[in-house]
């Protein structure tokens, strides 16, 4: 399991290649990437705050839970914090498994749980000011399917 919380940008291609290259006997690698969206057309930046220490623990617990539910050989969670511009990559997850179903499901599980169980908070900065992004009921509801 590879858990990383960092301010610096990451190279999606390099990370995905390195993750795939270190696997043995895995038939499937799934990756997901989250990108800063500018829904209103006026977003200057997305500021991401986190809780150092707890963040890494929470992500590791989520990854461990995924590994206990699905046959995954490895997982990567990489999440940025700090000030990000529209279209920058915020985070990625990768899962490796012998079979694609486990890799896909484990990746979805990681995403659902890190959205509302890992201590990150997003703030949208526009010309009009800055607003904390509210948690959505759908994100909480998404946990119940697991």
């Amino acid at each position: 399991m590879d858990i990383r919380v960092q301010e610096a940008p990451f190279d999606l291609g390099a990370e995905a290649n390195a993750f795939a290259a270190r696997q043995t006997g895995m038939g499937a690698v799934v990756t997901f990437t989250g990108i800063v969206r500018d829904l209103g057309g006026d977003l200057d930046a997305m500021e991401i705050e986190h809780y150092p220490g707890m963040t890494e623990k929470a992500l590791r617990a989520i990854a461990d839970e995924a590994a206990s539910r699905w046959q995954i050989g490895d997982a990567l969670i990489l999440h940025r914090h700090g000030r990000l511009a529209p279209d920058e990559m915020i985070m990625m997850v990768a899962t490796a498994s012998r079979h694609r179903t486990d890799a896909f499901q484990a990746a979805e599980f990681l995403m659902d749980f890190l959205k509302s169980r890992a201590p990150f908070w997003k703030k949208e900065v526009t010309d009009a000011g800055a607003d904390w992004v509210a948690a959505r009921d759908e994100d909480e509801d998404a946990l119940s399917r697991w």
Binding site: Y51, G53, K57, A58, K115, S116, P119, W121, V133, A134
Partner: protein
């Protein structure tokens, strides 16, 4: 114990951290003690349904005991991903 605040809770209270040397028995007791400090604390803790709490970096309920706790954090629902 250290009491940490994140996101709008930190902004509303005006700083990221307090030191509490009394020994509140539960999270709720700690909340009551903080509410009594100043108006900005009372405002930040006026609606607990929009707050989450972690005790020693684990998510807990507001009735959780604080025996031996070193770090308590208050923050809004998380928005990662």
């Amino acid at each position: 114990m250290d009491v940490l605040y994140f996101a709008w809770v930190r902004e509303r209270i005006g700083h990221p951290k307090d030191r509490v040397d009394s020994a509140p028995a539960t999270v709720m007791d700690l909340v009551e003690e903080l509410r009594a400090r100043e108006d900005r604390y009372a405002a930040a803790f006026s609606d607990l349904t929009v707050l989450r709490v972690a005790v020693d970096q684990e998510l807990r309920d507001f009735d959780a005991p604080l025996t031996g706790a070193r770090e308590v954090a208050f923050f809004p629902p998380m928005t990662g991903g």
